[in-house]
């Protein structure tokens, strides 16, 4: 038998709405724990370091260094360290043909959530 299912989700972003609003502008909004100052990006509602539940929003520059990358037929992905964040984040590379080891958070294509990084040279930084 054949059966076709088309789904069109609307997903409320809850606590993370400010992060997603910023992301759609290409801005990196992190969560900083008021207890231990650990900074998570993407943000965590509960501190990953101490379990604290009070978080403040904190703007990051959006710049990140590439720690590891892997290239596939459908693009390239990387583990990167965003300036000011503890820990790493997985991103899709917006310009996978480039090989620079750093980049800047990019506006997600088609307003999708998720993190895209535009690779660029240090001297391309106009922030």
């Amino acid at each position: 038998m054949k059966y076709r299912l088309t789904l069109d989700y609307t997903v409320p972003e809850g606590t993370l709405a400010p992060y997603f609003d910023a992301l759609r502008q290409g801005q990196a909004l992190a969560a900083q724990c008021t207890s231990c100052a650990a900074t998570s990006f993407p943000p965590r509602p509960i501190c990953g370091a101490c379990g604290g539940r009070e978080m403040n929003w904190r703007d990051l520059t959006g710049r990140a260094g590439v720690v590891r990358r892997t290239d596939t037929e459908n693009g390239a992905f990387a583990l990167v360290r965003f300036d000011g964040a503890d820990g790493l984040a997985t991103v899709a590379l917006a310009n996978p043909a480039e090989r620079q080891a750093a980049g800047r958070l990019a506006v997600p294509p088609d307003a999708r959530p998720g993190l895209w990084l535009q690779l660029e040279n240090e001297d391309d930084d106009h922030a």
Partner: protein, 387 residues
């Protein structure tokens, strides 16, 4: 020790179905063969636990009720258990818990998944992307292989493991699978074939990846008192452990290490009253060739896992044979069925009646290891031979 007996079990072949059969057929085949193997009747079963990873794959919500009906079981306790790639194994744990708690006498655990036949591979891949953090990973289009690749790169850097080691595993598991009539990829390949297969996500090539498979597996769990001859000769689940890790790889202190497996393992060993050194056989969740080494490392089954791999410790004739079934790489991976089949393989090996490549001398303990995500949700069982 849990004292839950694996009274019997059965599985269908794992492969890409081309015979027109569907998941309801596979579930029935696995269930009735398992009941017969346990020397029971279907009417002896008073609880059913169904494992399937995703309604997107099965196109069936409330699958436990549907499968119970398909099996002709009514008025029984039925539930579905899900935990990504670990779904089948978690279902075994749920069934065992029912027996231990006295909530059921004889539980059928049925794992199934139409991972290959229902949807195009690309659609399955896109859905798998949602099994990490859908909001940060899945919607970028990152796939399972890429996340595992990023993880194993860190493992390689820290341990010196190389692509040659991964190729050796990719070859060995396929060679083991050649003795398994239920295997999806019983391939007679060599390391050069792995190296010549296309790159999927560096460092992984096509032959480093496990396939999408169709199939079902079933085990019957019971207390000894509920079985003919008190379950004589049948293996027991001596210890179980489950532990989760951070979903987002980048938040782990060591993204290359499957550390939560160690937590699950210590829990299972404590319950079994066993030590890691006493494990004489293992079915390991080798969703990727390198993941097999990462798993063995995380479980604490070797101090220097790369050295042990190169010395042949994990070969069929080694001190700790791993994935004699072929593992996911060779036997295949219909997600909900995978963990059930791993537990079944361990039990049958301990009983000396495994249908594939057998361990030379059945050990006292065997280990089944399964996970969802990139070792995010980890389930471990230690099975013990009857004495």
């Amino acid at each position: 020790m849990s004292g839950v007996v694996v009274a019997g079990g059965a599985m269908t072949p794992f492969n890409r179905r081309k015979d027109g059969s569907g998941m309801r057929d596979w579930a029935r085949a696995a269930f009735f063969d398992a009941v017969a193997d346990a020397r029971l009747e279907a009417g002896d079963i008073d609880a059913l636990v169904v494992a399937s990873e995703s309604d997107f794959f099965t196109l069936q919500l409330n699958p436990a009720a549907l499968i119970a009906d398909e099996l002709g079981l009514f008025g029984i306790a039925a539930q579905r258990v899900e935990g990504g790639g670990a779904s089948g194994h978690l279902a075994v744990h749920a069934g065992a818990a029912m027996v231990m708690a006295g909530r059921a006498r004889r539980v059928a655990v049925v794992g199934l998944e139409p991972s290959a036949s229902h949807l195009p591979g690309a659609a399955v891949g896109a859905l798998y992307g949602l099994s990490f953090d859908a909001w940060t990973d899945g919607m970028t289009g990152i796939d399972s292989t890429s996340l595992y690749a990023l993880s194993v790169q860190a493992f390689m850097e820290e341990t010196g493991a190389g692509q040659d080691d991964f190729a050796a595993i990719a070859v060995r598991n396929r060679q083991n699978a050649r003795a398994n009539p239920n295997a999806h990829l019983p391939l007679d390949i060599a390391a050069a074939d792995v190296a010549a297969s296309p790159v999927i996500a560096q460092p992984y090539r096509r032959l480093d990846c496990s396939p999408l498979s169709d199939g079902a597996a079933c085990v019957i769990l019971a207390g000894a008192a509920g079985l003919p001859d008190g379950g004589a000769g049948r293996a027991r689940i001596a210890g179980m452990g489950v532990a989760n890790d951070r979903v987002r790889l980048g938040e782990r202190a060591r993204p290359g290490r499957f550390e939560a497996k160690g937590v699950a393992m210590r829990r299972a060993l404590a319950e079994a009253g066993a030590t890691a050194a006493e494990i004489g056989l293992a079915e390991i969740y080798d969703s990727y060739s390198g993941a097999q080494l990462q798993a063995l490392d995380g479980l604490g089954l070797a101090g220097d896992v790369v050295g042990a791999e190169r010395e042949g410790v994990f070969a069929a004739d080694g001190a700790l044979p791993v994935n004699l079934s072929g593992g996911l790489l060779g036997q295949g991976a219909p997600v909900g069925a995978t963990g059930v089949a791993q537990v079944l393989a361990c039990a049958l090996q301990l009983e000396g009646r495994y249908f594939g490549r057998r361990v030379a001398t059945p050990p006292r303990y065997a280990l089944a290891d399964t996970h969802g995500g990139v070792a995010t949700l980890n389930a471990v069982s230690i099975l013990e031979a009857a004495r």
